[in-house]
Protein backbone atom coordinates (compact mmCIF):
# COMPACT_ATOMS: atom_id res chain seq x y z
CA UNK A 1 0.00 0.00 0.00
CA UNK A 2 2.18 2.79 1.35
CA UNK A 3 5.96 2.81 1.42
CA UNK A 4 7.44 2.89 4.93
CA UNK A 5 9.05 6.21 4.11
CA UNK A 6 5.77 7.85 3.09
CA UNK A 7 4.08 6.27 6.08
CA UNK A 8 6.55 7.97 8.39
CA UNK A 9 5.97 11.38 6.80
CA UNK A 10 2.20 11.02 7.20
CA UNK A 11 2.55 9.80 10.76
CA UNK A 12 4.81 12.76 11.59
CA UNK A 13 2.29 15.19 10.10
CA UNK A 14 -0.53 13.51 12.02
CA UNK A 15 1.36 13.88 15.29
CA UNK A 16 1.96 17.57 14.56
CA UNK A 17 -1.76 18.08 13.86
CA UNK A 18 -2.67 16.26 17.06
CA UNK A 19 -0.25 18.38 19.10
CA UNK A 20 -1.72 21.59 17.69
CA UNK A 21 -5.26 20.39 18.23
CA UNK A 22 -4.70 19.15 21.76
CA UNK A 23 -2.72 22.22 22.81
CA UNK A 24 -5.64 23.68 24.85
CA UNK A 25 -5.67 20.52 26.93
CA UNK A 26 -1.90 20.78 27.50
CA UNK A 27 -2.32 24.42 28.41
CA UNK A 28 -4.92 23.51 31.03
CA UNK A 29 -2.51 21.06 32.67
CA UNK A 30 0.56 23.32 32.66
CA UNK A 31 -1.39 26.35 33.86
CA UNK A 32 -2.66 24.31 36.79
CA UNK A 33 0.93 23.52 37.78
CA UNK A 34 2.24 27.09 37.53
CA UNK A 35 2.53 29.38 40.53
CA UNK A 36 0.23 32.37 40.96
CA UNK A 37 2.87 34.74 39.57
CA UNK A 38 4.20 32.51 36.80
CA UNK A 39 0.82 32.40 35.04
CA UNK A 40 1.19 36.14 34.38
CA UNK A 41 4.75 35.90 33.06
CA UNK A 42 5.39 37.42 29.66
CA UNK A 43 6.37 35.73 27.45
CA UNK A 44 4.42 32.78 28.90
CA UNK A 45 6.40 29.73 29.95
CA UNK A 46 5.46 26.54 28.17
CA UNK A 47 6.94 24.27 30.81
CA UNK A 48 6.27 25.25 34.44
CA UNK A 49 9.49 26.37 36.14
CA UNK A 50 8.47 25.25 39.59
CA UNK A 51 5.51 22.80 39.37
CA UNK A 52 3.07 23.27 42.25
CA UNK A 53 1.85 19.74 42.81
CA UNK A 54 0.06 20.77 45.98
CA UNK A 55 -2.43 22.88 44.03
CA UNK A 56 -4.80 19.97 43.49
CA UNK A 57 -5.39 19.10 47.12
CA UNK A 58 -5.52 22.82 47.92
CA UNK A 59 -8.26 23.52 45.37
CA UNK A 60 -10.08 20.32 46.28
CA UNK A 61 -10.39 21.49 49.87
CA UNK A 62 -10.90 25.23 49.43
CA UNK A 63 -13.62 24.84 46.79
CA UNK A 64 -15.29 21.88 48.50
CA UNK A 65 -14.88 19.78 45.36
CA UNK A 66 -15.70 16.50 47.07
CA UNK A 67 -19.31 17.57 47.35
CA UNK A 68 -19.47 18.87 43.76
CA UNK A 69 -17.93 15.73 42.27
CA UNK A 70 -20.22 13.55 44.38
CA UNK A 71 -23.28 15.41 43.05
CA UNK A 72 -21.99 15.05 39.49
CA UNK A 73 -21.56 11.32 40.09
CA UNK A 74 -25.10 11.03 41.50
CA UNK A 75 -26.58 12.83 38.49
CA UNK A 76 -24.46 10.93 35.95
CA UNK A 77 -25.11 7.53 37.52
CA UNK A 78 -28.84 8.14 37.88
CA UNK A 79 -29.08 9.32 34.29
CA UNK A 80 -27.07 6.41 32.96
CA UNK A 81 -29.20 3.82 34.78
CA UNK A 82 -32.46 5.43 33.72
CA UNK A 83 -31.36 5.90 30.10
CA UNK A 84 -29.99 2.37 29.77
CA UNK A 85 -32.96 0.84 31.58
CA UNK A 86 -35.53 2.55 29.42
CA UNK A 87 -33.57 2.91 26.19
CA UNK A 88 -32.15 -0.59 25.68
CA UNK A 89 -35.50 -2.33 25.21
CA UNK A 90 -36.74 0.52 23.06
CA UNK A 91 -33.79 0.32 20.69
CA UNK A 92 -34.18 -3.46 20.49
CA UNK A 93 -37.78 -3.18 19.31
CA UNK A 94 -36.92 -0.35 16.91
CA UNK A 95 -34.16 -2.51 15.41
CA UNK A 96 -36.19 -5.70 15.19
CA UNK A 97 -39.13 -4.60 13.06
CA UNK A 98 -39.55 -2.57 9.93
CA UNK A 99 -42.91 -0.99 9.36
CA UNK A 100 -44.57 2.39 9.24
CA UNK A 101 -45.05 2.55 13.03
CA UNK A 102 -41.37 1.95 13.65
CA UNK A 103 -40.59 4.74 11.19
CA UNK A 104 -42.96 7.06 13.06
CA UNK A 105 -41.40 6.19 16.42
CA UNK A 106 -37.87 6.68 15.01
CA UNK A 107 -38.83 10.03 13.53
CA UNK A 108 -40.26 11.06 16.91
CA UNK A 109 -37.07 10.01 18.68
CA UNK A 110 -34.90 11.89 16.17
CA UNK A 111 -36.99 15.03 16.53
CA UNK A 112 -36.83 14.94 20.32
CA UNK A 113 -33.05 14.55 20.14
CA UNK A 114 -32.60 17.97 18.58
CA UNK A 115 -34.39 20.12 21.15
CA UNK A 116 -31.76 22.42 22.73
CA UNK A 117 -31.56 22.14 26.51
CA UNK A 118 -31.28 25.88 27.01
CA UNK A 119 -34.63 26.33 25.25
CA UNK A 120 -36.39 23.39 26.93
CA UNK A 121 -35.37 24.47 30.42
CA UNK A 122 -37.98 27.25 30.57
CA UNK A 123 -41.05 24.99 30.23
CA UNK A 124 -39.38 22.18 32.21
CA UNK A 125 -38.60 24.50 35.11
CA UNK A 126 -42.11 25.94 35.21
CA UNK A 127 -43.63 22.47 34.87
CA UNK A 128 -41.40 21.00 37.57
CA UNK A 129 -42.27 23.84 39.90
CA UNK A 130 -45.98 23.20 39.30
CA UNK A 131 -45.77 19.52 40.25
CA UNK A 132 -43.36 20.10 43.13
CA UNK A 133 -40.35 18.33 41.60
CA UNK A 134 -38.12 21.31 42.41
CA UNK A 135 -38.04 20.06 46.00
CA UNK A 136 -35.96 17.13 44.73
CA UNK A 137 -33.65 19.11 42.45
CA UNK A 138 -31.09 16.41 41.64
CA UNK A 139 -33.85 13.95 40.76
CA UNK A 140 -35.49 16.63 38.60
CA UNK A 141 -32.17 17.15 36.77
CA UNK A 142 -31.81 13.39 36.24
CA UNK A 143 -35.28 13.25 34.67
CA UNK A 144 -34.55 16.22 32.41
CA UNK A 145 -31.13 14.96 31.32
CA UNK A 146 -32.55 11.49 30.70
CA UNK A 147 -35.17 12.89 28.36
CA UNK A 148 -32.42 14.79 26.54
CA UNK A 149 -29.92 11.93 26.32
CA UNK A 150 -32.15 8.93 25.64
CA UNK A 151 -32.75 9.55 21.91
CA UNK A 152 -28.97 9.59 21.27
CA UNK A 153 -28.60 6.34 23.21
CA UNK A 154 -31.46 4.71 21.31
CA UNK A 155 -29.93 5.62 17.95
CA UNK A 156 -26.50 4.24 18.92
CA UNK A 157 -27.78 1.03 20.54
CA UNK A 158 -30.27 0.37 17.76
CA UNK A 159 -27.31 0.03 15.38
CA UNK A 160 -25.85 -2.58 17.73
CA UNK A 161 -29.05 -4.62 17.82
CA UNK A 162 -29.30 -4.47 14.03
CA UNK A 163 -26.00 -6.36 13.93
CA UNK A 164 -27.38 -9.24 16.03
CA UNK A 165 -28.70 -11.89 13.63
CA UNK A 166 -32.44 -12.45 14.02
CA UNK A 167 -31.88 -16.19 13.37
CA UNK A 168 -30.20 -16.59 16.76
CA UNK A 169 -33.24 -15.23 18.54
CA UNK A 170 -35.57 -17.38 16.46
CA UNK A 171 -33.53 -20.45 17.32
CA UNK A 172 -33.83 -19.62 21.02
CA UNK A 173 -37.60 -19.28 20.64
CA UNK A 174 -37.79 -22.66 18.88
CA UNK A 175 -35.84 -24.16 21.77
CA UNK A 176 -38.68 -23.17 24.06
CA UNK A 177 -37.58 -19.81 25.41
CA UNK A 178 -40.16 -17.13 26.00
CA UNK A 179 -39.68 -13.75 24.33
CA UNK A 180 -38.32 -12.38 27.61
CA UNK A 181 -36.02 -15.40 27.99
CA UNK A 182 -34.66 -15.09 24.45
CA UNK A 183 -34.07 -11.36 24.87
CA UNK A 184 -32.30 -11.67 28.22
CA UNK A 185 -30.26 -14.78 27.56
CA UNK A 186 -29.44 -14.53 23.82
CA UNK A 187 -29.90 -11.05 22.33
CA UNK A 188 -28.76 -8.90 25.23
CA UNK A 189 -25.44 -10.72 25.82
CA UNK A 190 -24.59 -10.37 22.13
CA UNK A 191 -25.28 -6.63 22.21
CA UNK A 192 -23.58 -6.14 25.57
CA UNK A 193 -20.54 -4.22 24.31
CA UNK A 194 -22.53 -1.72 22.30
CA UNK A 195 -24.93 -1.10 25.17
CA UNK A 196 -22.06 -0.63 27.64
CA UNK A 197 -20.11 1.80 25.46
CA UNK A 198 -23.22 3.86 24.76
CA UNK A 199 -24.10 3.89 28.47
CA UNK A 200 -20.60 5.17 29.26
CA UNK A 201 -21.01 7.91 26.67
CA UNK A 202 -24.27 8.93 28.36
CA UNK A 203 -22.49 8.90 31.72
CA UNK A 204 -19.78 11.23 30.37
CA UNK A 205 -22.38 13.56 28.91
CA UNK A 206 -24.37 13.71 32.14
CA UNK A 207 -21.18 14.15 34.18
CA UNK A 208 -20.51 17.43 32.34
CA UNK A 209 -24.13 18.60 32.17
CA UNK A 210 -24.61 22.29 32.97
CA UNK A 211 -27.80 24.05 31.79
CA UNK A 212 -30.34 21.98 33.71
CA UNK A 213 -28.28 21.80 36.91
CA UNK A 214 -27.53 25.53 36.84
CA UNK A 215 -31.20 26.41 36.45
CA UNK A 216 -32.87 23.81 38.66
CA UNK A 217 -30.46 23.29 41.59
CA UNK A 218 -30.32 26.38 43.82
CA UNK A 219 -28.79 24.72 46.89
CA UNK A 220 -24.97 24.85 46.66
CA UNK A 221 -24.71 21.57 48.53
CA UNK A 222 -26.54 19.75 45.75
CA UNK A 223 -24.84 21.36 42.74
CA UNK A 224 -22.58 19.36 40.40
CA UNK A 225 -18.98 20.21 39.46
CA UNK A 226 -19.94 22.09 36.27
CA UNK A 227 -21.97 24.64 38.24
CA UNK A 228 -19.17 24.85 40.81
CA UNK A 229 -16.65 25.60 38.06
CA UNK A 230 -18.92 28.30 36.66
CA UNK A 231 -19.21 29.92 40.09
CA UNK A 232 -15.42 29.78 40.44
CA UNK A 233 -14.91 31.86 37.28
CA UNK A 234 -15.92 35.33 38.39
CA UNK A 235 -15.61 38.13 35.82
CA UNK A 236 -12.40 39.57 37.32
CA UNK A 237 -10.76 36.43 38.58
CA UNK A 238 -6.97 36.17 38.69
CA UNK A 239 -6.76 32.63 40.07
CA UNK A 240 -6.37 30.95 36.71
CA UNK A 241 -3.94 28.36 38.04
CA UNK A 242 -6.53 27.28 40.62
CA UNK A 243 -9.37 27.29 38.10
CA UNK A 244 -7.32 25.13 35.74
CA UNK A 245 -6.51 22.81 38.65
CA UNK A 246 -10.25 22.49 39.30
CA UNK A 247 -10.84 21.77 35.62
CA UNK A 248 -8.02 19.21 35.65
CA UNK A 249 -9.48 17.30 38.59
CA UNK A 250 -12.91 17.40 36.95
CA UNK A 251 -11.90 16.28 33.47
CA UNK A 252 -8.99 13.87 33.99
CA UNK A 253 -11.10 10.82 35.00
CA UNK A 254 -13.24 11.34 31.89
CA UNK A 255 -10.18 11.64 29.67
CA UNK A 256 -8.64 8.51 31.20
CA UNK A 257 -11.83 6.53 30.60
CA UNK A 258 -11.98 7.87 27.07
CA UNK A 259 -8.42 6.96 26.17
CA UNK A 260 -8.95 3.43 27.53
CA UNK A 261 -12.19 2.92 25.60
CA UNK A 262 -11.26 5.11 22.65
CA UNK A 263 -11.45 2.51 19.91
CA UNK A 264 -14.79 1.14 21.03
CA UNK A 265 -16.31 4.59 21.41
CA UNK A 266 -15.17 5.64 17.96
CA UNK A 267 -16.43 2.39 16.46
CA UNK A 268 -19.78 2.79 18.19
CA UNK A 269 -20.13 6.37 17.03
CA UNK A 270 -19.22 5.65 13.44
CA UNK A 271 -21.66 2.75 13.19
CA UNK A 272 -24.55 4.48 14.88
CA UNK A 273 -24.39 8.21 14.53
CA UNK A 274 -25.03 8.51 10.82
CA UNK A 275 -27.42 5.58 10.55
Amino acid sequence: MMTPHLNRIYLGAAIVFAIIYLFPLYWMYVTALKSGSEIFAYPPTFIPKDPQWGVFSHVWEVRGMGRFIWNSLVIATGTMILVAGLGTGCSYVLARYRNIWIDVALFLVLMLQVLPASLMITPLFVGFSAVGLLDYPRFAVILAVTAKAMPFFVILVRATFMAVPAELEEAALVDGNSRVGAFVSVVLPLARNGVLVSAILIFMQAFGEFVYSKSIIQDVNLQPASVGLNAFMGPNTVEWNNIMAYATIYVTPILAAFVLLQQRIVAGLTSGALK
Partner: protein
Protein backbone atom coordinates in the same frame (compact mmCIF):
# COMPACT_ATOMS: atom_id res chain seq x y z
CA UNK B 1 -55.41 -10.46 33.11
CA UNK B 2 -53.62 -13.74 32.57
CA UNK B 3 -53.66 -13.22 28.81
CA UNK B 4 -52.12 -9.78 29.18
CA UNK B 5 -49.43 -11.19 31.41
CA UNK B 6 -48.52 -14.00 29.04
CA UNK B 7 -48.53 -11.58 26.13
CA UNK B 8 -46.01 -9.39 27.93
CA UNK B 9 -43.74 -12.34 28.63
CA UNK B 10 -44.14 -14.11 25.33
CA UNK B 11 -45.96 -12.04 22.73
CA UNK B 12 -46.54 -8.68 21.13
CA UNK B 13 -47.10 -7.20 24.57
CA UNK B 14 -43.36 -7.60 25.18
CA UNK B 15 -42.54 -5.27 22.31
CA UNK B 16 -45.25 -2.83 23.29
CA UNK B 17 -44.00 -2.57 26.86
CA UNK B 18 -40.37 -2.16 25.78
CA UNK B 19 -41.14 0.62 23.35
CA UNK B 20 -44.14 2.08 25.15
CA UNK B 21 -42.63 3.02 28.51
CA UNK B 22 -39.69 4.98 27.03
CA UNK B 23 -41.98 6.74 24.57
CA UNK B 24 -44.37 7.75 27.35
CA UNK B 25 -41.37 9.01 29.32
CA UNK B 26 -40.12 11.03 26.36
CA UNK B 27 -43.54 12.47 25.67
CA UNK B 28 -43.90 13.42 29.33
CA UNK B 29 -40.52 15.11 29.68
CA UNK B 30 -39.90 16.37 26.12
CA UNK B 31 -43.19 16.43 24.23
CA UNK B 32 -45.34 17.90 26.97
CA UNK B 33 -42.86 20.68 27.84
CA UNK B 34 -42.72 21.51 24.15
CA UNK B 35 -46.48 22.02 23.98
CA UNK B 36 -46.45 23.81 27.32
CA UNK B 37 -43.76 26.14 25.99
CA UNK B 38 -45.89 27.18 23.03
CA UNK B 39 -48.83 27.68 25.38
CA UNK B 40 -46.77 29.83 27.74
CA UNK B 41 -45.61 32.07 24.90
CA UNK B 42 -49.24 33.20 24.50
CA UNK B 43 -49.84 33.73 28.21
CA UNK B 44 -49.00 36.31 30.79
CA UNK B 45 -46.61 34.66 33.24
CA UNK B 46 -45.27 36.14 36.45
CA UNK B 47 -43.66 34.64 39.49
CA UNK B 48 -47.02 34.31 41.26
CA UNK B 49 -48.74 32.41 38.48
CA UNK B 50 -45.72 30.19 37.86
CA UNK B 51 -47.41 27.10 39.28
CA UNK B 52 -50.63 27.42 37.30
CA UNK B 53 -51.34 25.91 33.91
CA UNK B 54 -54.08 28.27 32.79
CA UNK B 55 -53.08 31.89 33.00
CA UNK B 56 -54.55 34.91 31.27
CA UNK B 57 -54.10 34.70 27.50
CA UNK B 58 -52.51 37.73 25.93
CA UNK B 59 -52.47 36.68 22.28
CA UNK B 60 -49.36 37.82 20.43
CA UNK B 61 -48.37 40.40 23.03
CA UNK B 62 -45.23 38.52 24.09
CA UNK B 63 -44.11 38.20 20.48
CA UNK B 64 -44.74 41.87 19.77
CA UNK B 65 -42.91 42.93 22.93
CA UNK B 66 -39.98 40.70 22.03
CA UNK B 67 -39.65 42.00 18.48
CA UNK B 68 -39.81 45.54 19.82
CA UNK B 69 -36.84 45.06 22.13
CA UNK B 70 -33.84 46.91 20.68
CA UNK B 71 -31.53 43.92 21.25
CA UNK B 72 -33.77 41.47 19.36
CA UNK B 73 -32.38 41.93 15.85
CA UNK B 74 -28.70 42.26 16.89
CA UNK B 75 -29.00 39.01 18.86
CA UNK B 76 -30.68 37.24 15.96
CA UNK B 77 -27.94 38.47 13.63
CA UNK B 78 -25.31 37.23 16.13
CA UNK B 79 -27.04 33.85 16.11
CA UNK B 80 -26.82 33.70 12.31
CA UNK B 81 -23.11 34.65 12.33
CA UNK B 82 -22.39 32.18 15.13
CA UNK B 83 -24.16 29.31 13.40
CA UNK B 84 -22.81 30.04 9.94
CA UNK B 85 -19.16 30.57 10.93
CA UNK B 86 -19.10 27.72 13.45
CA UNK B 87 -20.47 25.21 10.95
CA UNK B 88 -18.22 26.52 8.19
CA UNK B 89 -15.09 26.31 10.30
CA UNK B 90 -15.88 22.92 11.79
CA UNK B 91 -16.74 21.47 8.42
CA UNK B 92 -13.72 22.78 6.51
CA UNK B 93 -11.15 21.79 9.14
CA UNK B 94 -12.98 18.52 9.83
CA UNK B 95 -13.13 17.64 6.14
CA UNK B 96 -9.44 18.38 5.64
CA UNK B 97 -8.47 16.20 8.58
CA UNK B 98 -10.83 13.43 7.50
CA UNK B 99 -9.28 13.34 4.01
CA UNK B 100 -5.81 13.33 5.55
CA UNK B 101 -6.55 10.46 7.95
CA UNK B 102 -8.39 8.53 5.25
CA UNK B 103 -5.06 7.84 3.53
CA UNK B 104 -4.85 5.01 6.06
CA UNK B 105 -1.24 5.23 7.20
CA UNK B 106 -0.20 3.10 10.15
CA UNK B 107 -1.47 4.62 13.38
CA UNK B 108 -4.09 6.79 11.68
CA UNK B 109 -7.09 5.33 13.54
CA UNK B 110 -5.50 5.79 16.93
CA UNK B 111 -4.41 9.40 16.40
CA UNK B 112 -7.72 10.27 14.77
CA UNK B 113 -9.51 8.92 17.84
CA UNK B 114 -7.46 11.17 20.12
CA UNK B 115 -9.04 14.21 18.50
CA UNK B 116 -12.37 13.21 19.99
CA UNK B 117 -11.28 14.21 23.52
CA UNK B 118 -12.63 17.68 22.71
CA UNK B 119 -16.03 16.09 22.30
CA UNK B 120 -16.11 14.17 25.60
CA UNK B 121 -14.87 17.06 27.72
CA UNK B 122 -17.54 18.90 29.73
CA UNK B 123 -18.48 22.12 27.93
CA UNK B 124 -17.67 24.18 30.99
CA UNK B 125 -14.11 22.83 31.10
CA UNK B 126 -13.61 23.63 27.40
CA UNK B 127 -15.01 27.09 28.02
CA UNK B 128 -12.82 27.71 31.08
CA UNK B 129 -9.68 26.59 29.27
CA UNK B 130 -10.36 28.76 26.23
CA UNK B 131 -11.37 31.65 28.44
CA UNK B 132 -7.83 31.60 29.79
CA UNK B 133 -6.22 31.01 26.39
CA UNK B 134 -8.12 34.00 25.00
CA UNK B 135 -7.30 36.33 27.91
CA UNK B 136 -6.31 39.81 26.75
CA UNK B 137 -3.07 40.62 28.59
CA UNK B 138 -1.75 37.20 29.48
CA UNK B 139 -3.50 34.90 27.02
CA UNK B 140 -1.31 32.48 25.12
CA UNK B 141 -3.23 32.98 21.87
CA UNK B 142 -2.33 36.68 21.76
CA UNK B 143 1.28 35.75 22.48
CA UNK B 144 1.40 33.18 19.67
CA UNK B 145 -0.32 35.49 17.19
CA UNK B 146 1.97 38.40 17.95
CA UNK B 147 5.11 36.27 17.88
CA UNK B 148 4.33 35.12 14.35
CA UNK B 149 3.46 38.72 13.44
CA UNK B 150 -0.28 38.40 12.79
CA UNK B 151 -1.24 41.04 15.33
CA UNK B 152 0.75 44.01 16.60
CA UNK B 153 -1.18 44.66 19.81
CA UNK B 154 -3.17 42.41 22.11
CA UNK B 155 -6.76 41.63 21.21
CA UNK B 156 -9.14 41.66 24.15
CA UNK B 157 -11.16 38.74 22.89
CA UNK B 158 -13.69 38.57 25.69
CA UNK B 159 -14.24 42.24 26.48
CA UNK B 160 -13.97 43.93 23.07
CA UNK B 161 -17.42 44.07 21.48
CA UNK B 162 -15.85 43.51 18.06
CA UNK B 163 -14.27 40.21 19.08
CA UNK B 164 -16.40 38.72 21.87
CA UNK B 165 -18.61 36.71 19.52
CA UNK B 166 -15.51 35.48 17.69
CA UNK B 167 -14.04 34.25 20.96
CA UNK B 168 -16.98 31.87 21.30
CA UNK B 169 -16.95 30.95 17.60
CA UNK B 170 -13.25 29.99 17.69
CA UNK B 171 -13.85 27.81 20.73
CA UNK B 172 -16.90 26.22 19.19
CA UNK B 173 -15.00 25.42 15.99
CA UNK B 174 -12.33 23.70 18.08
CA UNK B 175 -15.02 21.81 19.99
CA UNK B 176 -16.96 20.59 16.96
CA UNK B 177 -14.17 19.85 14.49
CA UNK B 178 -13.44 16.37 15.85
CA UNK B 179 -17.03 15.21 15.66
CA UNK B 180 -17.36 16.53 12.11
CA UNK B 181 -14.16 14.74 11.16
CA UNK B 182 -15.34 11.39 12.54
CA UNK B 183 -18.68 11.57 10.73
CA UNK B 184 -17.00 12.64 7.48
CA UNK B 185 -14.49 9.81 7.85
CA UNK B 186 -17.38 7.35 7.80
CA UNK B 187 -18.55 8.82 4.51
CA UNK B 188 -15.05 8.79 3.02
CA UNK B 189 -14.52 5.17 4.02
CA UNK B 190 -17.69 4.29 2.14
CA UNK B 191 -16.39 5.49 -1.24
CA UNK B 192 -15.31 2.46 -3.28
CA UNK B 193 -11.50 2.41 -3.72
CA UNK B 194 -11.68 1.18 -7.31
CA UNK B 195 -13.13 4.52 -8.39
CA UNK B 196 -9.84 6.15 -7.45
CA UNK B 197 -7.82 3.36 -9.05
CA UNK B 198 -9.73 3.70 -12.29
CA UNK B 199 -9.20 7.46 -12.25
CA UNK B 200 -5.47 6.97 -11.61
CA UNK B 201 -5.22 4.65 -14.60
CA UNK B 202 -6.84 7.36 -16.70
CA UNK B 203 -4.15 9.74 -15.47
CA UNK B 204 -6.22 11.95 -13.16
CA UNK B 205 -4.33 14.21 -10.75
CA UNK B 206 -5.01 14.13 -7.01
CA UNK B 207 -6.94 17.38 -7.29
CA UNK B 208 -9.09 16.05 -10.14
CA UNK B 209 -9.83 12.89 -8.18
CA UNK B 210 -10.87 14.93 -5.16
CA UNK B 211 -13.09 17.20 -7.23
CA UNK B 212 -14.74 14.58 -9.44
CA UNK B 213 -14.98 11.60 -7.07
CA UNK B 214 -14.70 12.62 -3.41
CA UNK B 215 -16.89 15.72 -3.50
CA UNK B 216 -19.85 14.24 -5.43
CA UNK B 217 -19.72 10.95 -3.48
CA UNK B 218 -19.81 12.84 -0.20
CA UNK B 219 -22.95 14.79 -1.00
CA UNK B 220 -25.39 12.94 1.25
CA UNK B 221 -22.91 12.71 4.12
CA UNK B 222 -22.24 16.42 3.79
CA UNK B 223 -25.95 17.16 4.01
CA UNK B 224 -26.29 15.09 7.16
CA UNK B 225 -23.17 16.57 8.78
CA UNK B 226 -24.18 20.16 8.03
CA UNK B 227 -27.70 19.74 9.36
CA UNK B 228 -26.34 17.95 12.45
CA UNK B 229 -23.89 20.84 12.83
CA UNK B 230 -26.78 23.30 12.71
CA UNK B 231 -28.62 21.32 15.39
CA UNK B 232 -25.56 21.09 17.67
CA UNK B 233 -24.56 24.72 17.15
CA UNK B 234 -28.01 25.90 18.17
CA UNK B 235 -27.65 23.78 21.31
CA UNK B 236 -24.40 25.44 22.32
CA UNK B 237 -24.88 27.14 25.68
CA UNK B 238 -22.00 26.18 27.97
CA UNK B 239 -19.37 28.11 26.02
CA UNK B 240 -21.34 31.34 26.27
CA UNK B 241 -21.78 30.82 30.01
CA UNK B 242 -18.08 30.07 30.46
CA UNK B 243 -16.45 32.63 28.17
CA UNK B 244 -18.43 35.84 27.69
CA UNK B 245 -21.79 35.43 29.40
CA UNK B 246 -23.33 36.98 26.29
CA UNK B 247 -21.57 40.28 26.92
CA UNK B 248 -20.28 42.86 26.78
CA UNK B 249 -23.54 44.67 26.00
CA UNK B 250 -25.06 41.61 24.28
CA UNK B 251 -22.32 41.72 21.64
CA UNK B 252 -21.84 37.96 21.95
CA UNK B 253 -25.38 37.04 22.90
CA UNK B 254 -27.28 34.51 20.80
CA UNK B 255 -30.90 33.38 20.83
CA UNK B 256 -30.47 30.21 22.87
CA UNK B 257 -28.49 32.01 25.57
CA UNK B 258 -30.85 34.97 25.57
CA UNK B 259 -33.85 32.69 26.09
CA UNK B 260 -32.22 31.34 29.23
CA UNK B 261 -31.25 34.83 30.42
CA UNK B 262 -34.79 36.11 30.01
CA UNK B 263 -36.18 33.23 32.06
CA UNK B 264 -33.54 32.75 34.72
CA UNK B 265 -31.85 36.16 35.04
CA UNK B 266 -34.81 38.47 34.50
CA UNK B 267 -37.49 35.94 35.54
CA UNK B 268 -39.52 36.85 32.48
CA UNK B 269 -40.63 33.31 31.70
CA UNK B 270 -43.16 34.38 29.09
CA UNK B 271 -40.54 36.06 26.92
CA UNK B 272 -38.12 33.21 27.57
CA UNK B 273 -40.79 30.81 26.33
CA UNK B 274 -41.50 33.04 23.33
CA UNK B 275 -37.92 33.11 22.06
CA UNK B 276 -37.65 29.37 22.82
CA UNK B 277 -40.71 28.68 20.69
CA UNK B 278 -39.23 30.61 17.77
CA UNK B 279 -35.87 28.86 18.01
CA UNK B 280 -37.37 25.40 18.49
CA UNK B 281 -39.27 25.94 15.25
CA UNK B 282 -35.94 26.72 13.52
CA UNK B 283 -34.32 23.60 14.98
CA UNK B 284 -37.27 21.46 13.91
CA UNK B 285 -36.87 22.60 10.31
CA UNK B 286 -33.15 21.75 10.48
CA UNK B 287 -33.90 18.32 11.88
CA UNK B 288 -36.35 17.57 9.08
CA UNK B 289 -33.46 18.18 6.65
CA UNK B 290 -31.29 15.92 8.80
CA UNK B 291 -33.84 13.12 8.89
CA UNK B 292 -34.38 13.46 5.14
CA UNK B 293 -30.68 13.20 4.38
CA UNK B 294 -30.28 10.07 6.51
CA UNK B 295 -33.68 8.54 5.82
CA UNK B 296 -32.51 5.78 3.53
CA UNK B 297 -30.06 4.73 6.20
CA UNK B 298 -32.62 4.93 9.00
CA UNK B 299 -34.79 2.49 7.12
CA UNK B 300 -31.77 0.24 6.85
Amino acid sequence: MKRIRSSIIDGVGFDLVLVGIPLVFLLLFSGLPLVYNVLMSFQEVDLFSLGEVFRPFVGLKNYRALFAQPEFWPIMWNTVIFVFCSIGGQFIVGFGLAVFFNTGFRGSTFIRGLFLVSWVMPGLVVGATWNWILAGDFGVLNYLLSSIGVISENIFWRSDINYSLWAVIITNIWLGTAFNMILLSVGLAGIPKDLYEAASLDGATAFQKFWTITVPMMRSTTGAVISLGLIFTLQQFDLFAAITGGGPANSSNVAQYWAWELSFRQYDFARGATISTIMIAVVMVASVFYVRSTRHEVRG
